[in-house]
Structures are given as structure tokens and as C-alpha cells.
């Protein structure tokens, strides 16, 4: 009876974890793959894996960094498997960079501001596309998910110095891409 209650509480806890972090995990995977279906599948796999190991989560790190770590590993596994299965499509539904740049809330911006913003977004996408896997992961974790260097180091398993070096190179690439548009 006590066990059943504990399980129910744990399940309820996990439901709230999914509700709280699903969008963020999905956004990270979407930014990494530009493939909505793939991002959804990997997000589901991530929460499935997290659910299976929920009892062993000791809370040494935040739930988000733990989930991010699972998501990154799943993504790596996915690309590794795809490389081996060369006859399968590598980017099944990856959206074109220009289409990916179309997503901008209209807000209070003028048409000109929106056009400028769209152009900037396209340049950042182009730079992100050309980053190495590690640089891209670090860049997205820092500037999209707003993790700090320590958290990124924990999530990626790199040292803080390495994270900083990757981040610096990624920023240089984005800077260069934005500079070329002028």
C-alpha cells in the first residue's frame, strides 16, 4: 500500500517534470536537427528513458540538466546509427534554412523590423548549420536554453575550459556570418 502510494507520487512528480521541461527539450532537439518529427521522437525517447530511470535520479544535478544529458546522448546515438545505416535517409524531414527562419512572432514589430529580424535569424541558422556537433550543442545550450558554463560542462561531460573554447569558436562563426551580410 505504501509502495503503491510512493509510486503514485513518483508518477505525479514525473508528470510535472514532463509538463515543465518537454518544450525546452523539444526546442533543443529541434534546433539541433531542424526536423520536427525527429525532435518529437527523440523527446519522447528522452522522457521514456528518464521515466525508466526516475527512481535512480539522485538529484545531484537539476532535472533539466539530467534530461538534457539524456537528450544529447540520444541524439548522438541517433546520428551514429544513421551513419551506419547509410541506406536510410540521414535528414528525413529536416526543414530548409529559409523556412526555419520564417518562424517569427509578428508582435508589435513593423514589416521592416520583421524582415530584418528574419534575415538575422537566417544568418544564425546558417552559422549553426556550419558548426561542429560540439560547438552547436554548446552554443544552443548557452544561448537558447540559457544554461551557464558549469551546467553545460556537466551536461556535455566536457571541462568548463573546453566548453568556453567551443562557445568562443561558435560565437566567432556567428559573428562572421552576420558580418558577411553587411
Amino acid at each position: 500500500m505504501i509502495n503503491a502510494t510512493a509510486e503514485a507520487i513518483a508518477a505525479q512528480d514525473f508528470d510535472s517534470v514532463v509538463a515543465e521541461h518537454r518544450a525546452q527539450i523539444f526546442r533543443f532537439l529541434l534546433a539541433s536537427t531542424r526536423d520536427v518529427d525527429l525532435a518529437e521522437t527523440l523527446t519522447q525517447d528522452c522522457f521514456l528513458k528518464a521515466h525508466r530511470n526516475w527512481s535512480s535520479f539522485r538529484g545531484e544535478s537539476s532535472v533539466l540538466t539530467w534530461l538534457m544529458r539524456i537528450a544529447i546522448n540520444l541524439q548522438k546515438d541517433h546520428w551514429r546509427n544513421r551513419r551506419l545505416q547509410f541506406w536510410r535517409q540521414t535528414r528525413t524531414n529536416a526543414v530548409d534554412l529559409d523556412i526555419a527562419s520564417d518562424w517569427l512572432p509578428s508582435g508589435e514589430r513593423t514589416a521592416e523590423q520583421r524582415m530584418l529580424a528574419r534575415e538575422q535569424v537566417a544568418h544564425v541558422w546558417r552559422a549553426v548549420e556550419n558548426l561542429s556537433e560540439r560547438q552547436r550543442t554548446v552554443f544552443l545550450l548557452r544561448y537558447v536554453d540559457e544554461l551557464d558554463l558549469k551546467e553545460i560542462a556537466h551536461v556535455t561531460g566536457m571541462s568548463e575550459g573546453t566548453v568556453k573554447a567551443h562557445l568562443s569558436r561558435a560565437l566567432a562563426r556567428v559573428r562572421k556570418e552576420l558580418g558577411e551580410k553587411r
Binding site: 518544450a23 525532435a39 541506406w87 536510410r88 512572432p105 544561448y143 558554463l149 568556453k164 556567428v174
Partner: protein
Amino acid sequence: MNRMDENPKLVQGNDDLELEPELREAIGNFKTSLSAWTEEAISRPRKLTSRARVNWALATKWALGCAVFIGTVSGGVYENHHQQVAAKAEAARLAEQQRELTAQRAREEADLMARVDNDIAREVPSALEPLASLMEENQGTGN
């Protein structure tokens, strides 16, 4: 105005990586765009898709490529083997022909020699005929 501009953690650059205003604005717009895309994607009903679809065109190309390669290689190997067998048969035939020719020559030579011996034996100069007849007589008596 985007969320990044409001976030002191990123504006201050706690990682010592300074972001100039334009770069900050561009990354902020990128994040806003990505979040809008995420919201739209999450709220839409999900289609049922197979997780890993086989790219049949690519698979067919690979299969055809492999078939052509195997065909070319095995064709070459067969042709080479066929040529080797034909060459061996031809060599055997030539050797046999050579043997027959040699044997025939040997026979002809033997015949010729026998004829020559015979001719030499028969054509005895007239001055030696008495001697020859004596030899024949001796041969007849066994002496």
C-alpha cells in the same frame, strides 16, 4: 525587444564572452523564432510516421550498383578462367600435334634410313660383286 535583452545573465556575459548589441539581438531573434516554431510544432496534432523510413531510391541505387559491380567482377573472373582453360586446351593440342609431328618425322627418317641402307646394300659396284656374293654365301652358311 526580445527575451535575451531582458535576461541579465546573458547581457552581462557571466562567461566572460562579450556579446555586442547586434550579435545579442540576432541570437535573441533566433531564440524567439525557435520558440515560436517549437510552440507551433508542439500544439499541432502529430502524424503517425514510421521512425526510420528506408530511402528506397538510395537502397535501389546501392543494390543496382552492387549487382553491376558483382556482375562485372564475376564476368571478368569467368572470362579469365575461360581463357585459361582454352589456353591450356590449346597448349595440350599443340603439344600433341608436336608429338605426332615428331613421331612422324622420326618414322619418316627411319624409313628413309632403311631405304638408304637398303639402296646402299643393293647398289654394289660391279668390281665388288664377287666379294659381295662371297659375303652372301658366308651369311647363308652362318660363318
